[in-house]
């Protein structure tokens, strides 16, 4: 198990620049999640670490040793693919044993490790089956088993759960995380799903257009996003944004509403408010009465869509409200109004 150090990593596909000089340090045993919209370069970064894509510049270090020039065979990693990529002609047991056999592990050691992994993953009954005779969830476990048996330097996951149904996905998230903690292996996990990122990662790397937008713990990204992109990407439902004119702490919206933010600024800004941060009308400094345009009941809470400052914002309140109210009387704390400058950077409070 290793620490992974990514230094000025660049990757071009011909003329297409996929990664623009990334820097990232991953501690030994850390579970780090790469998240971002489709096409932002997550898989490219992961595949560069794996050695599957040759790098165009910079380097990758395992425990301080440069490995950027090594082929995938010599990096001693484990990878779980989105389509699992199990060997179709081999049984489950042979799939798990393949990498160990390649490395000339003694037969009894192979048997021991296959049994160990199969026990943990509860796939012992299927050891003699071929992948095509397994369900999606079982294949996923076999793919995990193939990664586990090798005692490799690090685990790499490329959207391993996106082929599973929602229920199984939630369960496998927990299992993968528990397994990773049990083994203590350094892991890089790619997903486009921010909920998956928030629930699994020790730290999250938010990527956009081949660049790292922000690195931080789930709570850091939630409470202190550095950019409007991160603020909008992290959190569910999404943060609502309205434009405003700032004069110190006073933010004037286009409809004349004035809000007080804990952050001071001047000129044109964008305000960001998370739907779950709205409170009852009476309790707070910022009081709003909003026209409700739409509403959805989501389990025990209700999502309202309302007009504010010429845009539509989302408001989450507890309780399942099936009757749509004409207006909502709400409060919002000054520290819950984030302010972004015209370059979409968040202005610190």
């Amino acid at each position: 198990m290793v620490s992974i150090n990514i230094q000025n990593l660049e990757k071009h596909y011909g003329k297409v620049k996929a990664l623009h000089g990334l820097n990232l340090e991953i501690a030994d045993g850390e579970f780090i999640v790469l998240v971002g919209p489709s096409g932002c370069g997550k898989s490219t970064l992961l595949r560069c670490v794996a050695g599957l894509n040759p790098i165009s510049g910079g380097d990758i270090l395992f425990n301080g040793t440069p490995v950027g020039h090594l082929p995938p065979q010599d990096r001693d990693l484990s990878m779980v693919f989105q389509n699992y990529a199990l060997y179709p002609h081999l049984t489950v047991a042979q799939n798990l044993a393949f990498g160990l056999k390649v490395r000339k592990t003694p037969a009894e050691e192979i048997e021991k490790r296959v049994k160990w992994a199969a026990d943990i993953l509860a796939i012992t009954p299927y050891l003699d089956r071929r992948p095509r005779a397994l369900s999606g969830g079982q294949r996923q476990r076999v793919a995990m088993g193939r990664a586990m048996v090798k005692h490799s330097n690090a685990f790499l996951f490329d959207e391993p759960l996106s082929n599973l149904d929602a229920q199984l996905r939630v369960q496998m998230r927990k299992e993968i995380r528990a397994l990773q903690q049990r083994i203590g292996v350094t892991s890089i996990y790619v997903t486009h799903d921010q909920v998956e990122a928030m629930t699994m990662g020790d730290r999250i790397v938010v990527m956009k257009d081949g660049r790292i937008e922000q690195v931080g713990s789930p709570s850091e990204l939630y409470t202190a996003p550095r950019t409007r992109f991160v603020a909008g990407f992290i959190g569910s439902p999404q943060m609502s944004f309205v434009t405003a004119q700032a004069d110190g702490h006073q933010m004037t919206l286009s409809d004349g509403t004035v809000l007080t933010s804990a952050t001071a600024a001047t000129g044109a800004v964008t305000l960001g408010i998370r739907p779950e941060h709205f409170l009852d009308h009476t309790s707070e400094a910022n009081r709003l009465t909003l026209d409700v345009t739409n509403q959805q009941v989501v389990g025990t809470s209700t999502s309202y869509f309302a007009n504010l400052g010429g845009g539509e914002i989302e408001v989450i309140r507890q309780g399942s409200d099936t009757e749509r109210p004409a207006t909502l009387a709400l409060g919002i704390r000054p520290e819950h109004i984030m302010v972004f400058d015209k370059d979409n950077k968040r202005i610190a409070a």
């Binding site: 065979q73 990096r75 001693d76 693919f81 389509n83 060997y87 002609h89």
Partner: protein, 276 residues
Amino acid sequence: MTVSAQDTRTDRLIRFVFLAAMLIFFALPIIYLFSTSFKTPDDVLQGRLLPEAATLKNYPNAFAHVPVLRMIWNSIAVALLSGVITLVIAVPATYATIKLSAFRKTVPNITLASYAAPPIIALIPLFYLLQTANLMDSVLGLALVHGLMNLPVAFWLLKSFVNDIPAEIDEAAWIDGAGYWHTLFAVILPLIFPGILATALICIILSYNEFLFASALTFSEASRTITVGMSLFQGERLVNFGQMAAASFTGMVPIYLIAFLFQKHLVGGLTQGSIK
């Protein structure tokens, strides 16, 4: 919509007539050949389907005139050996081109171009090459030529099978530590086996039927193939069609046997992908 008994009966009739027509179309030449092999020279000139006075003499005479069995044996040896040569080169070449992107753009084009070129272009260079290599007029020499000749066909057939295997399967093997040859033998070969079998059969059949190179590059009994043997019945004065038919029919047997025995693999291999 319900299908009445009347409809199915007409359907069946139409299908029967269609299949019968196809069968006659494809079987008639073979039946005619078979029948001709029992005709006297006079009968042949009549041009009727069935001989007037059937004779069994054509077979022993043909075998006496030309060493038919020896030539069939040569053909089989050349075909099998060339099949092996083709696959030994084509399988790793296809893998390297498709999966390792070695000359990914050029190889498909070059193979296609060389296949499209008339083979006669290669004849004289091959003639001198074989002479220099001391492989003129030998089973090995012709097998080598056929083996190389069939490379484009094999490449294009194998290409689709190799393409069918998701890239992640190779990548998983590499990450598991397997080198490129190891991956080829332990992962790719088992997965494209139906394709390899079908490709082998097609290359063997192509070699068995080949005439141009065989006629130019083999001339002694030790290496002449049956396709060349067939042409020997064209004497200076007249063609002995009865004997020629007898020899042709005998020469057809091995290839029909192969096609018949392996037809499941041939059709199955070419129509179904390797990954299911």
